[in-house]
């Protein structure tokens, strides 16, 4: 049976992990490669590097980070943040990324999805959607959640899939950073509308939140960042919890 995936997100700025690094006694927290190695030992299924620097000058630094992380893990590795052009995607993939995640660039030029899917295969192209609830619908935001677009999240996910995206990485802006739980209604609406896997993101705080997003949220994978930085919240503990709750997961 196909397992539900647990994905760790490393928010990286100038080569250092910047989210959830303020924990005492965790000296490795700032180093993406060391953190990825720890997650690998704990049984993480996949790693996402989200480069929040995302300037042109940072492309080389990003390649260095990707290489360093890729050396530590024999797992799928996705890179997002600042993938604006075909060349950005190419340099991330050459550095060792298996997938790239497109967000604002895909909104500005949806044909980028198809171009990259044709060149690298759909499995290498993730479309990231940042959505915020407005009454009964979910609106898509660009530029790291700062710019409202005219798009509806469900319709945009469908279009992205039709254009060749292999997966959708869906973040709830309302829940991101709140630790109040994933937004299951949003996740289910998108997951039910597309034939491709949906990764839920935003709001993970408790193990129960993961269970809920897999059951009522119909998610295929769940992504979290800071929850895993707590040593007492290890990936292996989470997976044991999910397995006991009847969710298929990969136990190492």
């Amino acid at each position: 049976m196909l397992s539900k995936r647990i994905i760790a997100c490393l928010d990286v700025r100038d080569g250092r992990v910047v989210k959830g690094v303020n924990f005492e006694g965790l000296r490795e927290a700032g180093d993406p490669a060391a953190l990825a190695a720890r997650y690998n030992r704990e049984g993480i299924d996949e790693v996402v590097i989200l480069d929040v620097t995302a300037t042109l000058e940072s492309r080389q630094a990003r390649a260095h980070t990707i290489q360093a992380v890729a050396r530590e893990i024999f797992l799928p590795l996705c890179v997002g943040g600042g993938i604006r052009t075909d060349d950005d995607a190419a340099s991330a993939i050459e550095a060792g990324a298996d997938k790239v995640s497109l967000n604002t660039a895909a909104l500005n030029d949806p044909s980028l999805i198809t171009r990259l899917a044709t060149r690298y295969g759909s499995q290498a192209v993730i479309v990231a959607i940042d959505a915020k609830r407005n009454r009964a619908r979910y609106e898509v935001y660009a530029r790291s959640g700062s710019a409202l677009t005219a798009r509806d999240a469900v319709a945009w996910a469908r279009e992205a899939a039709e254009r060749g995206a292999g997966e959708i990485l869906l973040t709830s802006i309302d829940r991101d950073g709140t630790r109040a739980g994933f937004e299951c209604a949003l996740t289910a609406a998108v997951s039910d509308a597309v034939p491709i896997p949906v990764i839920a993101s935003g709001g993970a705080g408790e193990f129960e939140h993961f269970r809920d997003v897999f059951t009522t949220g119909h998610a295929d994978a769940a992504l979290a960042a800071s929850i895993f930085h707590f040593k007492e919240r290890s990936v292996s503990d989470l997976k044991s919890f999910l397995a006991a709750a009847g969710i298929p997961v990969r136990l190492c």
């Binding site: 797992l75 295969g121 499995q123 896997p197």
Partner: protein, 205 residues
């Protein structure tokens, strides 16, 4: 020395990295003459079956000649599908035809009506027989898949996996083997399988 065949289907970085971790010497041959110097050949690749068109008659001939010399061959993902007779994804294009049957698209079934395709993620291996490739791999061990088409069950199947339907996830016949999943992205289990392939062919010239 291992020849990694680059025919433009996906990048080879992660396969190279895994082979380096197993202390293998790897070349990416730019000509069939270079291919002829290898004792082992890996055909990796992801994406559309039509990509295998780039393995033209000259390269197919060189790979067949290598097999006749006892060179070991390993197909990964699209490279494994190519070992079969072909794929519905590109019906006019023949595979190498080492194994019988044609790869078909995964699709929702009566029992799995909401099946998502592509099949992405970690799924388990069932082991229908004892093989060198799956030596010390536990039944039910999980590996990472990402594909939309899958190979039929054959007598040479070394592992099978179920996603809507049951398909061949690993195949082995003498010195020819292949896997539908990505051993280079499947953690310790994946490295074990790659190592098994290297060991089972350690006596080749």
């Amino acid at each position: 020395m291992i020849a990694l065949v680059d025919y433009g289907a996906g990048n080879l970085t992660s396969v190279r990295k895994a082979l380096a971790a197993l202390d293998c010497e790897v070349i990416v041959p730019s000509s069939v003459d270079e291919l002829a110097t290898a004792s082992r050949i890996i055909v990796p690749g992801v994406g559309h079956f039509d990509r295998t068109r780039a393995i033209d008659e000259e390269w197919r001939g060189a790979i067949r000649a290598a097999l006749e010399r006892g060179v070991a061959l390993f197909g990964i993902c699209l490279g494994m599908q190519w070992l079969f007779e072909g794929s519905e994804e590109a019906p006019d294009l023949p595979g190498l035809g080492v194994f019988r049957g044609v790869c078909v698209k995964l699709s929702p079934t009566r029992t799995s009506p909401t099946l998502k395709v592509p099949h992405v993620g970690w799924n388990s291996l069932d082991l229908p027989r004892t093989t060198d490739l799956m030596h010390e791999v536990e039944p039910g061990a999980q590996v990472y898949f990402t594909h939309s088409f899958a190979a039929p069950l054959v007598p040479e199947s070394a592992a099978t996996t179920t996603y809507g339907t049951t398909f061949t996830s690993a195949v082995e016949q003498g010195r020819i083997a292949g896997v539908q999943f990505h051993p280079e992205k499947s953690g310790d289990v994946g490295l074990r399988i790659l190592r098994n392939w290297l060991l089972m062919n350690s006596r080749v010239p």
